[in-house]
Every structure is written in C-alpha cells, then in structure tokens.
Subunit: 191 residues, 2 copies
DNA sequence: TTGCGCAGCTAACAGCGTTAGCCTTACGCT
DNA sequence: AGCGTAAGGCTAACGCTGTTAGCTGCGCAA
C-alpha cells in the first residue's frame, strides 16, 4: 500500500550474526566506548584477532549494527503510520520515533550520529527508514524539518541536555502541534 | 534590557589560554579525533605530559573549549535577537544559530553532543546560551522544541545525512514557518 | 645565598585497533 | 583411506591513545 517494501538485507553468516548480536548487547549494556574488539571477543569466548575472520574491521561490525538499527526504526515508523488516519500521522510518527529511539539508545546513537557508512549499507535502506516522514507530511521540506526536530529532541533527551524537571511530554506535544498546524497538505489543526 | 548579562567566565592562566587556543585550532582544522594530547603538545612545541601541568586531563581541555563555545554561541544568538522586531525573532534566531554552528563545526559538535561537563562550567552559562530560544518564543515548551529542531538540523547537515541535492535553505524555512505559525504569543504568520 | 615552585623533560604502563603467522579441525575429493 | 584445503581459532607484536611517576633546570623571593 502506502508503505513500500523493506529493502533487502545484507546476508550474514551464522557466526557473523552471533558476533553482531553480541556487539549489540555490549553497546546497549555498557555504552558506545566500551564496545571494543577485545570486550566483544571476550563476550564470545574468543580473542580479539579472531573477530577479523568474520568482519573486516570494527567499522564493519558497527555497520552491521547500523543496518539493524535503520531496518528496525524504519519498520517501527511504517507500522506506526499504518495504524492511524491521515490527520493524526505527525503525532503518531513522533511518538513512535521517540519510543523506539529511547528503547534502544545505544543503537540509535550509533546509527544516527557521525558519518554514515553508506558504502556498507544496502541501497535504499536509508531512504526507506526515513520515508515515513514524507508520508506524514506530504511535503519534502517539512518532512526533513520534522525529522530534524525528532532527531534533535531524542539526542538532547538522551544527553540530558534539557533543564532538570522539564516536562518533555509537553515539549514533544508543542513540536507536534507546530508541525501539524503548518504546511502539511492534509492535516487539520490538533489543539 | 531583555538580554541578561553574560555569566562570569572561568579564569585561565596565560599558558592555559594558549593551550586552549591551540586545541581549538586543532579541533577545527583536523577534527575531533585528531585532537590528541600528543598532537596538541606538538603544536605548542612541548611534549604531551607537560600539558598536565596546566590541565587536569584531556576532558578539562575539552571543557575549556565547551565553555568558549557556549559563550560565543550565546553571544551570537543574543545579538541576533537584539537587531530584530519581536515578529521576526524565530527566523532571525534560526539563521544565526545555523550560521554560527556551521562556521565552527568542530566546536559546535564538541559542545552539544555527548555528556556536558557541567561541573567544570561556570554556573548559568548553559542557561544563558539557551535563553534566546525562550526570548524568541515566549513559551518554554515551544522554546525547547525550537532549540531541538535547530540542533537536529545542524547535526544532520554537518553529518551529511540529508539526501544529495536537498535544498536546506528551504528546509530551514519550512521549520521556521512551522514554529512561527504555532503557539508563540506574539508572532504573526510569515509566509 | 638558599630555597621553592613552576614548567618542562623521559620512561613507562595499560588499553585500543589491527596485522602477521601459526595450528588444529572438519570436510570434500580422488 | 588419505590427501588438500579452507575455516576459525590462537599468540606475539606494532603503533597509537591517555596518563603517571619522577627528574631537571630556571627564576624569583626571603
């Protein structure tokens, strides 16, 4: 229907999949800079150099996680849009974005900050993961602005940049209101 | 008047100021992960361990740069608001934010991503640097949303996350329109 | 003149990603 | 049955990182 098909995923040997899973666990449990090749190997019961039999280098391990992150984020956003009438798409999209990002903070950061390893990613995955913003706004520039807003909100929330005691639910609502009131060809106001 | 006084700065010995200046140059010219203690020392004609006579550790050097970054960003934003009538504050603020961040990308990233070294920062500096968003919107939650939007835009632009050929001027305009049309107690629409 | 402290130095350590080279195991083919 | 090969582990080591300990020389103050 309105949600295009998810792009093909990069094939992964069974052992590579195990390593990626262990890396993901390490990333979420101990944070980005404790995801080291030696710690990853230890979690798998092997030594660090053995990892290089399965991944070219650390960046390739991270690229595998980025691929997972984009695929899962894309699936969550497309699913959120599927359940909602056109008028309520922006708030639904923002809620799903926030929920998914905060549920996987390490993965979110890895996939969305710093340079994207585009060469190691399946073609079309990035666009597919971002397309819900275009589906929710019907206008490319407003879609990019909405995406930027959601990204900024999540990062500032993860980094504890908002003043203590901020009611972020209300902040997300204020942003949702701003983006539904404006520009979108099909969205009536949601006070 | 409406712009409060800038908070006091942390005192810095002459040598510490030289080191911070060299660190800033290194950060902007060669990027965040080429800002190493050895490279910094070499630029100053000394050896890395000597730096520890002036800064407790690398994090303290970075904290000095974060302080500079917040003070300068705050000054730029307050200045931008001072030149503009109430109605045009949001677009003026966003334009100044973008211009300043893109002019000092390394410093911007250092100061706004990852955990803030709040303990090493002068009290009130962070709030002062962020207060222009409150002055521009007159509503705390919309202010935080606007800030998040600007932050997300800058980061995605710096990280080249937008599709090739995106006209980001138009995206910034779309966001400015969304945030001026909505909520703000004093802002009429700016088509 | 004596003493002190500032600001440099070398040597070294642990941890990082990564490479080279070795060895064992398992499997397919003749 | 035996051989060849490839997969997937291993150790040792390199150059890089931040950081510490301890030494040295210079300048200033009492």
């Amino acid at each position: 229907m309105s949600t295009h098909q998810q792009p093909v995923r990069t094939p992964r040997t069974p052992r590579a999949a195990q390593i990626a899973a262990a890396a993901r666990g390490l990333l979420e449990e101990r944070g980005r800079d404790e995801l080291t090749m030696r710690a990853l190997a230890e979690r798998l019961g092997i030594r660090a150099p053995s990892l290089y039999k399965h991944f070219r280098n650390k960046e390739a391990v991270e690229a595998a996680l980025v691929e997972d992150a984009l695929a899962e984020m894309g699936a969550a956003l497309h699913a959120a849009l599927g359940e909602v009438p056109a008028a309520g798409r922006v708030p639904a999209l923002l809620a799903a974005y926030r929920r998914h990002a905060l549920a996987h903070p390490g993965l979110y950061r890895l996939a969305t900050t710093g340079p994207l390893p585009r060469a190691a990613l399946p073609g079309g995955l990035e666009e597919w993961a971002g397309s819900p913003f275009f589906l929710a706004t019907d206008e490319p520039h407003l879609a990019q602005a909405l995406w930027s807003y959601a990204h900024g909100m999540v990062l500032l929330e993860l980094d504890h940049r908002y003043p203590d005691g901020s009611d972020l639910d209300l902040t997300w609502q204020a942003g949702a209101r701003a983006f539904t009131a404006s520009g979108g060809r099909s969205a009536p106001d949601v006070p």
